[in-house]
């Protein structure tokens, strides 16, 4: 089971919970200090910048160590077999266990890097291994193996990235299994994928609240996001049509069976997500739904060119601004437990002022601007992610 010290993990959760109360002004500083002293956390967890630095450095160390080892053994046959990657993977894994068990690294960058590298090495090893046995079944055992491997890593280290990969590998395994083994599986595979992702969502959603899984909350959240996305993708009209074209041997078909069903799915499901997200106050459903609305619009536009793209953009921009303005007006005083005020958790993003960098990235254009090297120099370091920074 989980590699980290369980008492400390529990204490960490407790401290985070109480810290929120501190920031909301519910408890005093002295009380927080007393609680932190009573429930200590012994992990080595530096801040994000140190974590990034340690991650990079660990990657440097491991890659040069692996290179050196390979060079030393260059004359033997061992390094030409896929087993060599597995051996290197075992080394990294051993280092990881050591760092976690005796040096108590927890999300320090060192353990992240070692976990990442050993997973990559194992995956490469398996990929080469299965590639060598050319029985026409390549993806099926590979995805299965990667799923098991990453599931183990997820259980052992509760890592979000590993959870992501293992979810995707599992769904890919189901997909390849169904299409390769069942005759004519391609026609029924959308429904199987819907079932599989709905099952995955249900599992991760219901286990997220249970106490024994409390350390896996982030992993289960990621599992929810992925399963919601694949549940949508499994019924998306564009994806279905691409698949059925492949079934017909590359000929583009004009219509697909159950076309109406898939159109309803494509347009309706994001709205269902948003609706349930608002009703149950579930951030995951709400945000995934909002993102998928964009996907639905893009899909629709791929088939029906009702309006030219510029008018579409203007209308979309105006509608979005209008909706945002309306919601803000409506929530001027909090209603039904909703507010548009910021929550009090000072988010790490605020320190980096990501939003301002993002604005500079996307909007910085100037008349007759030939050399915007300055933008390239500084802007691209923290792409992605938004923030709630108040300017």
């Amino acid at each position: 089971m989980i590699a980290y010290n369980k008492t400390w993990l529990a204490n960490l959760l407790l401290q985070n919970e109480v810290k929120q109360d501190l920031q909301n002004g519910c408890i005093t500083d002295a009380e927080f200090k007393a609680i932190a002293a009573k429930y200590p956390v012994g992990f080595y967890t530096p801040n994000l910048f140190v974590r990034v630095g340690l991650f990079i450095l660990t990657c440097v160390i491991i890659s040069f160590s692996n290179g050196l080892l390979t060079l030393l053994l260059a004359s033997t046959d061992l390094i030409e077999t896929p087993a060599w990657f597995l051996v290197l993977g075992i080394f990294s894994y051993a280092a990881l266990e050591f760092m976690v068990n005796s040096n108590h690294h927890y999300r320090s960058g060192v353990d992240d890097a070692l976990l990442f590298i050993s997973a990559c090495l194992f995956a490469t090893g398996f990929a080469i291994l299965f590639y060598h046995n050319k029985a026409g079944m390549y993806y099926l055992p590979l995805t299965g193996m990667i799923f098991l491997l990453n599931l183990y890593f997820t259980i052992r280290f509760a890592d979000v990235l590993m959870a992501t990969v293992s979810c995707i590998a599992l769904l890919a395994f189901v997909f390849f299994g169904w299409t390769r083994i069942i005759p004519g599986g391609l026609t029924t595979v959308p429904f199987i994928m819907m079932l599989a992702s709905a099952g995955l969502y249900w599992l991760s959603f219901s286990y997220n609240k249970k106490v024994p899984f409390i350390h896996y909350q982030n992993c289960l959240i990621i599992a929810q996001v992925i399963s919601l996305a694949t549940l949508y993708a499994a019924g998306n009209y564009y994806i279905i049509q691409t698949l059925s074209d492949e079934l017909n041997g590359g000929r583009a078909s004009s219509s697909i069976p159950f076309g109406t069903v898939f159109w309803v799915w494509t347009i309706g499901l994001p709205l269902v997500y948003v609706g349930f997200g608002v009703k149950r106050k579930d951030t995951i459903l709400l945000r995934t739904g909002l993102l998928l609305i964009a996907a639905a619009v893009v899909t629709f536009r791929a088939y029906y060119h009702i309006l030219p793209v510029d008018i579409m953009l203007v209308i979309a921009g105006a509608v979005i601004l209008g909706i945002a303005y309306g919601v803000m007006k409506y929530l001027k005083t909090p209603k039904h437990g909703f507010t548009y005020a910021e929550t009090n958790d000072p988010n790490l993003m605020d320190h980096l002022k990501i939003e301002s960098l993002l604005v500079a990235e996307t909007f910085s254009t100037a008349p007759s601007a030939p050399a915007d090297i300055g933008v390239k120099f500084g802007g691209g370091d923290f792409g992605g992610g938004g923030s709630s920074s108040n300017f």
Partner: protein, 326 residues
């Protein structure tokens, strides 16, 4: 998780009755904040609207005419700025909160439409003639003014990017525009100067206590631009003795930023110093090893990277402790 937890804490005497009641109340009516979603929507809305208008104008320039387009853009710009002047809070040298969430985005819309307006004028009527420096200087000044006057960090970042463009344009306008030929030495020194200017700006911001929260942006761009131009200079003059000067520059800057980040407890700049200094030192070591140039030196090089990276890990961990203790 929640209620039994606080009951225990209360029973253990770690929470006073007063705090316990407060926590209980907060847990009873939790507020669900859609702040983040709304901000994203606003950002997306402005982005889509401006892009759409841009394409619309571009497509229909033949039918609607330039004057109309210019008028429209000017109206959007004037409207946004009028709103901002009307609703802004009084100017102060410290941080001023924006009066409402929409304010920032309306200001952003105003600034972007102003840039578009100037660019359009220049492109269509050559108002500034071949004087490209002036054409980029005016938007830059307006951006800097708006950033300070309305206290908007995003606009400041745009202004800094415009400063870079203005400097790039005014140094070598003809070569760049006519031949699109980058005279690398001129570019190098220009951006070195830009980086140093930004760093001075960061220092001055803090020293005079004028809009202190703008320091991060100046320093962020300044540190990256200066380090990269110094390193670029080192590689540009690789075989000449001048490269030593650039190398010394890297270490001097590293020392200065190091001192500053210790003073301000900034892990981010500390990490940048470590990474850039490491690149500099490693390039020196690699240079040495290449001169030896046999298989033995490759082994040595690998060992160097392993050893130095382990050393740096301990360095980072210790610096982290030092900053926390300071």
């Amino acid at each position: 998780m929640t209620d039994p937890l606080y009951n225990t804490l209360h029973a253990e005497g770690l929470l006073s009755d007063d705090s316990y009641e407060k926590v209980k109340q907060r847990k009873q009516n939790p507020l669900f904040s859609v702040h983040w979603e709304l901000k994203t929507l606003l950002y997306l809305g402005v982005l889509l609207l401006t892009t759409g208008l841009g394409i619309l104008v571009y497509e229909n320039i033949d039918t609607i005419g330039h004057q109309f387009v210019l008028l429209f853009i000017a109206l959007v710009c004037a409207g946004s700025f009028a709103y901002c002047f009307k609703n802004k809070l009084p100017f102060h040298a410290e941080k001023v909160k924006s009066p409402n969430t929409a304010f920032d985005y309306i200001l952003l819309l105003g600034c972007i439409s102003f840039i578009t307006f100037v660019g359009y004028l220049q492109f269509e009527y050559q108002v500034f003639g071949l004087n490209y420096g002036l054409a980029t200087l005016i938007p830059m000044l307006v951006l800097f003014f708006s950033a300070y006057y309305f206290d908007h960090l995003g606009i400041l970042n745009m202004a800094i990017a415009n400063l870079a463009i203005w400097m790039g344009v005014s140094v070598t306008p003809k070569q760049l525009l006519l031949h699109s030929d980058f005279n690398s030495e001129t570019i190098l020194y220009t951006y070195l100067l830009l980086g140093i200017l930004l760093l001075i700006g960061a220092y001055a911001t803090q020293h005079f206590g004028f809009k202190k929260h703008f320091k991060f942006s100046y320093q962020h761009y300044g540190v990256h631009v200066t380090f990269i131009s110094l390193l670029a200079g080192y590689f540009h003059y690789y075989d000449s003795i001048i490269s030593a000067v650039f190398m010394l520059g890297v270490f001097l800057l590293a020392y200065l930023v190091y001192q500053d980040s210790l003073k301000n407890k900034s892990f981010y700049f500390l990490l940048l110093v470590v990474i850039y200094a490491y690149i500099a030192i490693s390039s020196l070591v690699v240079r040495m090893m290449i001169q030896v140039g046999d298989i033995g030196s490759f082994y040595l090089l690998s060992m160097y990277f392993i050893g130095s990276a382990i050393g740096l890990i301990f360095l980072l961990i210790n610096l982290n402790k030092k900053l926390k203790a300071a």
